[in-house]
Amino acid sequence: MSLSFQFHEKKSFMHSLDPVTKLIWMLCISVLVFLYETSLPQFILFTIVFSSALILAKLSIGFVIRGIWIMLLFSIGFFILQVLLVPGENVLFTMGPLNIYSESVDFALAITLRILTIFTTSLIFVATSDPRDIVNSLTQKMKVPYRYAYSIFVALRFVPTLEQEAKVIEAAQTIRGVGKQKGLKNKALNMKRFTLPLLMGAVRRVRVTANTMEAKGYGAYSDRTYIRKVSYTASGVMFGAVWCITTVYLIVERII
């Protein structure tokens, strides 16, 4: 897991927005990237998202690049593959026995930018939203029953525990001389030897955790009280409205 993809406490416009507005913003961008198949609009969208990462969320360029460089690397591979495989009409240039078509280059560029845009959007969302606020806005604003929404907390709480348990299992197997072996069959056996104890250990914790939660009154009442309240801000509503109107306008324009 790369460190860039975690919440970073800061003071910026994106940090002050509530998660619901940010989710709407993410949806708008996802719809917009879905709308175009040429590289120019995709490039404009990518520039907008990238600059909002720098200006609105106050993330440094190094931070964003560090977050997306793996994706960037793979996008290049995907780009080359698409240039070679997607059929086109106008020959842009010839490279040995291969004809490179301008349409396929355009299309490949558009898809690559689309992937990068979505990637940067999620980076902004994750880096600027406190997980506690995400769950709170699910229960307070979107009216998801808290019994279900809090399962996100339960899941997140188990990440470090499981990671530690994985290390213990690995160490225990190494001590007993069952190290990592090569070969496809051995790899599959390794997976089985490693995953099953991890899963069993996790399942064993289920009942204890559930009992503890119920002993503290989890799920006994249909509603609960909160220390943190999530509220919409005026600028947040404006931000969401502008994006929604732009998206709807562009969809209508695209269809007509």
Binding site: M1, S2, S4, F5, M26, L27, S30, I68, I70, M71, F74, S75, I76, G77, F78, L81, Q82, L85, V86, P87, F107, A110, I111, R114, I118, F119, S122, L123, F125, V126, P131, I134, R147, Y148, S151, I152, V154, A155, L156, F158, V159, L162, E163, L196, L199, M200, A202, V203, R204, R205, V206, R207, T209, A210, M213, E214, Y218, G219, A220, Y221
Partner: protein
């Protein structure tokens, strides 16, 4: 507090998810989610090398937590809830695909749910898990082919990718979860879940058959 806790009627208790169910779902989702973040890297590599065909091989692993949770808990809505939760957790815990993985997880969950609903949540064997694993595929394939522009690659590549995805869904998602679920049930740590109760019933039936 003046609120009186009302006892939940028995018929609703059967269908409703208990806290134990929810915690089990959360744990399965996070195990899958953490594993997925590592597989996502592999997946990007496969996409870069072989486009839609090679990525299709590992596709079944994405929906395994949903099929497994439904196979253990055996209540309506479990598969959809598990996979949606896995999607949300993947976003928060840093899957590079972000929103894409959430939509993929939700569509997968819908497919698996339909798969088990077809058997009215009564049949839990090789056939129902295979159908559930298979149905996880088509909905996301349609969305993905538009999103990543696969549809321009020509009908042959698309068909090959689709068939590989279906096979991967049946084996890696459907049957693998049945195998894992049976192993877990065999260790007696799933006492209290429907899988254990129904297994016991089956065993008892067999025994009475032999004695008669």
């Amino acid at each position: 507090m003046s609120t009186v806790v009302k006892a939940v009627s028995n018929s609703r208790k059967m269908k409703r998810l208990t806290t134990v169910d929810i915690v089990l779902i959360a744990i399965l989702a996070i195990v899958n989610g953490v594993a997925m973040t590592y597989i996502a890297m592999l997946n990007q590599l496969l996409t870069a090398i072989g486009g839609p065909i090679l990525t299709s091989i590992t596709l079944g692993l994405y929906s395994i937590s949903g099929v497994l949770a439904a196979y253990i808990i055996r209540k309506p809505g479990v598969a959809f809830f598990t996979l949606t939760l896995a999607g949300v957790v993947q976003i928060i815990s840093g899957n590079p695909n972000g929103l894409v993985s959430l939509i993929a997880a939700t569509t997968d969950g819908l497919g698996v749910e339909i798969g088990f609903a077809l058997f009215r949540y009564k049949r839990w064997d090789w056939l129902s898990t295979a159908v559930a694993g298979l149905l996880a595929v088509p909905l996301w394939f349609i969305v993905a082919s538009f999103w990543f522009g696969y549809y321009k690659w020509g009908i042959t590549i698309l068909l090959i990718a689709f068939v590989i995805r279906c096979v991967s869904g049946i084996i890696l998602s459907g049957w693998l979860s049945k195998i894992v679920g049976d192993i877990l049930a065999g260790t007696n740590i799933l006492k209290g879940f429907n899988i254990h109760k129904q297994r016991k019933k089956e065993v008892n039936k067999d025994e009475s058959h032999y004695s008669a």
